[in-house]
């Protein structure tokens, strides 16, 4: 089974995110960049399917030069090859434009299954996976906590509010990951050494036959007007009393009488 995994490089979730001088983007220096955590699940799942059924795992990612590190990480985990769309004209693309770029890259390679993270934990758009599937004309299932390959189709346990829905989709298909799908492996030292020799192709928009007028910062359909920090809360009010009982009584009184929440 030939599997494509879509990955994105994002700021580590422990990083403090700061707004840049333009007021509409974030400061990109002094940030630790990592593979999107939901994409780690996608890579792991692809590797497990390949280990069980044979085939290949190809990593596809759009981003600046340093995105290579993230693709290499996936190769070190065990993926076979990488495709890196690295083009200044693609920078600042919104989710739909990013999906157009990824779909164009994926179209050029044979695949039975695509796996993507449910969302990237930077812009939290939850959009790219579904959009790539739509642009390729294949079904998708999102928020998948368990996937099983059957004859000509895939059975997915999709996490919804208050439960799980089991959905089957005909292959080729795309699914997006939910936590609980698996525990991603760490790249081993031999894996890291091997990854250095694995093929990593760099492509431009022109290589993919894409019109730059459909993508990039200047052609966003979703235009960021301003970024703000969340509104500051007032300083915390500490509740003190002699006994746990008295503390509880005071807390509940405040929530009941002042905040009117009980």
């Amino acid at each position: 089974m030939d599997i494509v995994v879509l990955v994105k490089q994002v700021p580590d979730t422990e990083s403090l995110v700061q707004i840049a001088g333009d007021g509409a983007s974030i400061k990109k220096d002094d940030i630790k960049w990592v593979m999107n955590p939901y994409d780690e699940l996608a890579v792991e799942e692809a590797l497990r399917i390949k280990e069980a059924k044979g085939g290949s795992v190809t990593i596809v990612s759009v981003g600046p030069q340093k995105t290579q590190e993230t693709i290499r990480t996936a190769l070190a985990m065990g993926a076979d090859k990488g495709i890196h769309i690295n083009d200044p004209l693609a920078e600042g693309s919104d989710s739909l434009a990013t999906a157009k770029i990824l779909a164009a890259a994926v179209k050029a390679i044979p695949f039975h299954l695509i796996i993507a993270g449910q969302r990237a934990v930077d812009e939290d758009n939850y959009q790219v996976g579904a959009a790539v599937a739509e642009l390729l004309g294949i079904p998708h299932v999102s928020l998948v906590a368990k996937a099983e390959i059957l004859d000509g189709k895939i059975r997915c346990q999709r996490a919804v509010e208050g439960g799980t829905v089991v959905v089957e989709a005909t292959l080729p298909a795309l699914f997006t990951t939910q936590r609980g799908l698996n525990e991603p492996r760490y790249a081993s030292l031999p894996g890291i050494m091997k990854a250095k020799k694995k093929p990593l192709e760099a492509k431009t928009l022109a290589d993919l036959g894409l019109d730059p007028a459909a993508v990039g910062a200047a052609h966003r359909k979703v235009v960021v007007k301003a970024l703000r920090l969340p509104p500051e809360r007032k300083a915390v009010r500490m509740i003190q009393a002699e006994t746990p009982q008295a503390i509880a009584a005071e807390l509940v009184r405040i929530l009941h009488e002042e905040a009117k929440l009980i």
Binding site: T13, P37, A130, V160, V166, V223, A248, L261
Partner: protein, 321 residues
């Protein structure tokens, strides 16, 4: 020219999800701001009777897309019928809930229609005919104000955030013929949690536990039950295997917006704080007075959760009885 707002409601097994009322209410405010009509859309099988219920929230028109093939949510079938409706109504705005279903539908629909999508918005406003959507990014560390180019503008609003209004109107109900189109997915089974558990993203109250619970969530569950709330967990509590992944609150879990969030034995990793930052009131209970969680809380208690929580539960029960 594109005109009007359509609000996509969400039902499961013939009952509206609460987010439906929020979406139609937010749609009403948008339609008023844009001086245009609001159409509420109900999708399902045998769901026409739901129209009477949604009327209360002020749509000018209700469209029921009814077909046995729409009984359960399936991305492709729902996308096909909504895309057909959009083509026939050419609305300026399509608004839906950013639930598991709504996020999935909006994402696919946006690609189908080549339309801009503002996902998981916590505020929507209109000024001089232009809509600005506010959406948390980085799990809530940053808020972005965005505007969408083109039509329809697709807006998915975060559950539990938009206020519900009641303004009954005489809204006409239409039931157009639907064409399911090509469908490559099938729902083969539904396994729902029993016992009417409250879903994290829809809960008014969340009581959350972290490493400080040592794996004992009993006092947290008891307090949540006493307040008709939901139980959440920090990433470390989930990584320890104490709670299911579905309970995790944070940048890599669920981002929640309850009226009240009670963080118990949670030190406050930056990615957890982000995921709860849009809660209206935050209470933190922790042994360590230096815990970062206190910097994001409205009310704080330094103490042992195993001594304090049972007392809080008793006090809550007393008030509510």
């Amino acid at each position: 020219m594109a005109q009007g707002v359509i609000a996509i409601t969400e039902q499961r097994d013939g009952k509206f999800r609460k987010v439906s009322y929020e979406v139609v209410s937010a749609g009403r405010r948008l339609a008023d701001g844009l001086s245009c009509p609001l159409t509420a859309v109900i999708i399902g099988s045998g769901v026409e009777a739901l129209a009477a219920e949604i009327k209360k929230h002020g749509p000018d028109k209700i469209v029921v897309l009814d077909d046995p093939g729409l009984a359960d949510y399936r991305t492709d079938a729902y996308t096909n019928v909504v895309a057909d409706l959009v083509k026939s109504l050419s609305p300026a705005v399509l608004i839906a809930g950013a639930s598991a279903q709504g996020k999935d539908l909006c994402a696919r629909l946006a690609a189908r229609l080549d339309a801009g999508l503002a996902m998981d918005c916590t505020a929507v406003s209109v000024q001089n005919g232009a809509i600005t959507c506010t959406r948390p990014m980085f799990g809530g560390k940053i808020f972005a104000d965005v505007q969408i180019q083109g039509a329809p503008q697709i807006i998915a609003v975060r559950p539990n955030v938009m206020s519900i209004i009641e303004i009954a109107r005489e809204s006409a109900v239409e039931k157009p013929a639907v064409r399911l189109g090509e469908v490559k997915t099938e729902v083969v089974e539904k396994v729902m949690d029993s016992g009417g558990k409250v879903e994290l993203t829809e809960a008014e109250v969340i009581v959350s536990g972290g490493r400080g619970t040592g794996g004992n969530f009993k006092p947290i569950e008891d307090l949540a039950a006493a307040m008709d709330g939901a139980v959440g967990a920090s990433r470390s509590a989930v990584d320890e295997g104490w709670r299911k992944h579905a309970d995790q609150v944070g940048q890599t879990g669920k981002v929640v917006s309850p009226a009240l969030y009670i963080a118990c034995g949670i030190s406050g990793a930056i990615q957890h704080l982000a995921g709860m930052s849009t809660a209206k009131v935050i209470v933190a209970i922790n042994k360590d007075p230096e815990a970062p969680v206190f910097s994001k809380a409205d009310f704080g208690v330094v103490g042992d959760i195993f001594q304090i929580l049972p007392e809080v539960t008793e006090a809550v029960k007393k008030i509510r009885s």
